[in-house]
């Protein structure tokens, strides 16, 4: 149990996995110098340039070659640098990696982790800021993970590396320096949510950085006597429907909050499932918070217009509280 940051927690997970299993290796641009955010710093000293390997600027080849290496028995960790650049390798990820096991009738596996640093990071503009996690939930064959704390970035990255399925692993760029307790003995099960706060009045479902804003919001709401239960999904596929449904059955109110664009975002999936399963009880007390369907600007004040904040979550909760739990 030590305090460490989100970036170092992930590095520790990688280090331990590489020590435990020779088949694990990392491939990406600039990894030998620690990677663009320092997430790999020092690892090449320990594991050498073959296992912490510097790639040319060839995202399609990074993804495709790692896949080839996976189907012959290695376990690659692929670094995409910014999730935006993974768009240069979508055929490889979605047409090849996600489908191979199925198309080949189970003859092959692709045990890979594809790290995609995501999200807004001050003034990075439209090509270095986006959050497309919902896309990959819609691509059968893939697992999707979005950790929000150092602990989860440690435990879930380890679980992802150990998993025999391909995992798209979204780390939020704005959290690299976020500190927190990390217990290296804590294992994570992919698909289990973490209930971050408990409360009887409103369920707030979230993931990645926005889950931390949700916790902030819950603290504010608690001060007003409103009990918010924050369910941090942590993984979007599979996702913990039971944790959400149980909470909504208790609170009768649902907010889903995420940084990504609301339209077509995974928040819609959460709302849809809840509507189908407990729609009658919910009586319309449901709110989605996500970015407007616009692009992310460079100017800080414009960029801010795309953000989902703790205040917005608080406002939505207050608003839902106006709608009584008993009549629709």
């Amino acid at each position: 149990m030590a305090v460490t940051n989100y970036s170092d927690a992930a590095r520790e997970a990688v280090r331990e996995a590489m020590r435990a299993d020779d088949a694990v290796w990392c491939i990406g641009e600039d990894l030998g110098r620690g990677g663009v955010f320092g997430q790999y710093r020092g690892l090449q000293d320990e594991f050498g340039p073959a296992r912490i390997a510097d790639a040319p600027i060839s995202e399609a080849a990074i993804m495709g070659a790692a896949f080839g290496a996976a189907i012959v028995g290695t376990r690659p960790i692929v670094e995409m640098r910014f999730s935006d650049f993974a768009l240069c390798a979508v055929d490889e990820l979605v047409n090849q990696i996600a489908k191979a096991r199925y198309m080949f009738g189970g003859q092959s596996r692709a045990p890979m982790v594809i790290r995609q640093p995501m999200g807004m990071w001050r003034s990075s503009a439209a090509q270095h800021s986006q959050s497309l996690e919902s896309w990959y939930t819609h691509a059968p064959g893939l697992i999707v993970i979005c950790p929000s704390t150092p602990q989860d970035n440690y435990s879930l990255l380890k679980a992802a590396i150990e998993c025999d399925d391909p995992v798209v692993y979204f780390e939020h760029k704005n959290m690299w320096g976020l500190e927190g307790d990390v217990d290296t003995a804590e294992a994570a099960v992919i698909g289990e949510a973490r209930t971050r706060t408990h409360g009887d009045d409103v369920t707030i479902v979230s993931w990645s950085q926005t889950a931390n804003f949700a916790v902030e919001a819950a603290e504010t709401l608690a001060g007003e006597g409103i009990g918010a239960q924050v369910v941090d999904l942590r993984s979007l596929w599979p996702w913990d429907k039971n944790a959400v449904l149980d909470s909504v059955n208790k609170t009768g109110r649902l907010i889903v909050a995420h940084e990504s664009v609301a339209v077509g975002g995974f928040g819609a999936e959460v709302v849809a499932i809840v509507s189908e399963k407990v729609g009658a009880a919910l009586q319309g007390r449901v709110r989605r918070l996500g970015a407007p369907r616009a692009l992310i600007a460079y100017a800080p004040n414009l960029e801010n217009k795309m953000r989902v904040t703790a205040e917005m979550i608080v406002d939505a909760a207050r608003d839902l509280m106006q709608k009584s739990k008993t009549k629709g």
């Binding site: 399609a60 495709g64 080839g68 290695t74 096991r101 199925y102 080949f104 025999d164 499932i273």
Partner: protein
Amino acid sequence: MNQANFDRERGVKLLATMERIRAFEENAVLAAERDKLVLGAIHPSFGQEAAAAGVLWPLRTDDYLISTHRGHGHTLAKGADPIAMMRELLGREGGCCGGKGGSMHIADFNVNMLGANGVVGANITIGAGAAHGVKLQGGDQVVIDIFGDGAANRGPFLEGLNWAVVFQLPILFVCEDNQYAATTKTTSVTGGDGPAARAASLGLPTQTLDGNDVEAIADAVTETITRIRNGGRPEFLHVITYRQKGHTSFDQAAYRPDGEADKQMADNDPIQRQKNVLAAVGVAADEMQAIHDAAQAEMAGALQTAADTPFPDEALAFTDVQDVGSPVVEAF
């Protein structure tokens, strides 16, 4: 060819492989066009059998092959079971991919055949990666990565070949140039001196071969594979052949210049050429006829067996997607 040194046994085997490939595809086309048993598109390789037989000749079973949508020949030459392949084309139980892949995704991991691919060029980086995996694990296998002339215009050509050079990987890239990409004459959309020039610029030793001369291909690849296995450096082969029929079995290929295909079939059919070679070194016509007949019988039998095989159990529609979050356990 030096008649004295001629390897008769190899020559006969190469002929047999080509005859088997042709017979397999003739039966596959019958299954598709006559019997309506193959419901998806198939891409036969009539006229390209020498490339498959010759290129795969020196490979060990544990060497790797990765191929394309037009990969029946390569897969057979690598040693896959034609019954399992035919079942796959018919979408039946016991197909190499359990009926889930079909012609464009045939794979047989038993013989280290890592799959055909429905996306042109995608197999170039994947093959490079397979070689990367071999190197990381300290293996001595070689990867053969076959793609078409059309694939040389896709980005993965540059990225995958560069990758193999940068990481010094044991892989032979083979551009099986049948002169067409679907309905398009490939030279009309290809700048410069073509695939071999591109490969050379990326740092690979290259050879350009008559793709309908199976003996020459087998000779060259035998030496090349040895060099790659010992040296761990990638190389490139440009094998020039001709697609005698349409892009798919549906395609009449009316867009080709008059007479082009007829002339190729008459003068440059790889099977006929190999028969001529063997005749010249004294292989009897009867022996060659027997090879032909055996291939025909084997593949007609494969088709019959496949046609008699049931479709897969429907529950299999949802298996082998993924372990965690599998559709078998997760409703949506």
